[in-house]
Assembly symmetry: C2
Homo-oligomer: 132 residues x 2
């Protein structure tokens, strides 16, 4: 289907199919952005801190992201201390960038709505509706 | 807590607490953006078409958004034909704007990560990691 993103009335105009469900989850979005920002990888404990997640929650989300092959988790050492390191896979980086393009469309659409709404603030209300 | 949004290592830096779970759902994001774009309200069938949702799915999401008092659904008429009209409440508009501010932060953080990543593409890889 050819889409004209300027046509507010077009079928599927606000479907946002690119918002991949594996990534479109609040905690996972935090994890993915953290890892995208720290390309060299982050330790489990740093990631936990940056995203304010519990061990259990972070483990659960990392597992889902690993299963989707978006993130890789590797056991390593810092000196003699064992450390779990996490980072985006190449596929994860690519998919996250595609996801972000759609997210940018949501933000752009909403910004357009906000601007339109501000312009309408002075306009008379449509019949049949009381003021919201 | 005072947050410095430029500090990539700060606790909770990527927590995105403002991504309200009621709104942060793919279909609901489409519904809310549609309604924000059409401030005068949209009919159930227009909304269904714009978001590519089934009757059942749209009803379910509208109910959740109504319960959170973000959206109001009103039975009306176009001539003699009954029509269900949906629109954002004042509270819904305010909450959606706050949500969008957080979403813009995600996009800005990810854009910064993308720029950083591009700059690092030519840099040597960190020891202990094979290329992703």
């Amino acid at each position: 289907m050819v889409r004209n993103h300027n046509d507010e009335r077009q079928s599927g105009r606000f479907a946002y199919d690119g918002l991949d469900r594996v990534m479109h989850e609040k905690a996972r979005l935090g994890i993915l952005t953290s890892l995208a920002t720290h390309r060299e990888g982050l330790s489990f404990s740093d990631l936990k801190e940056l995203c304010t997640l519990t061990d259990g929650n972070l483990s659960r989300h990392l597992l889902a992201l690993e299963e989707a092959e978006l993130v890789e988790v590797k056991k390593g050492f810092v000196g003699r201390r064992p450390q779990t390191l996490c980072r985006l896979t190449r596929r994860g980086r690519r998919r996250f960038l595609a996801y972000l393009e759609e997210l940018e469309r949501v933000v752009a659409d909403a910004a357009a709505a906000r601007a339109k709404s501000a312009a309408e603030d002075a306009a008379p209300l449509r019949k049949g509706w009381s003021p919201a």
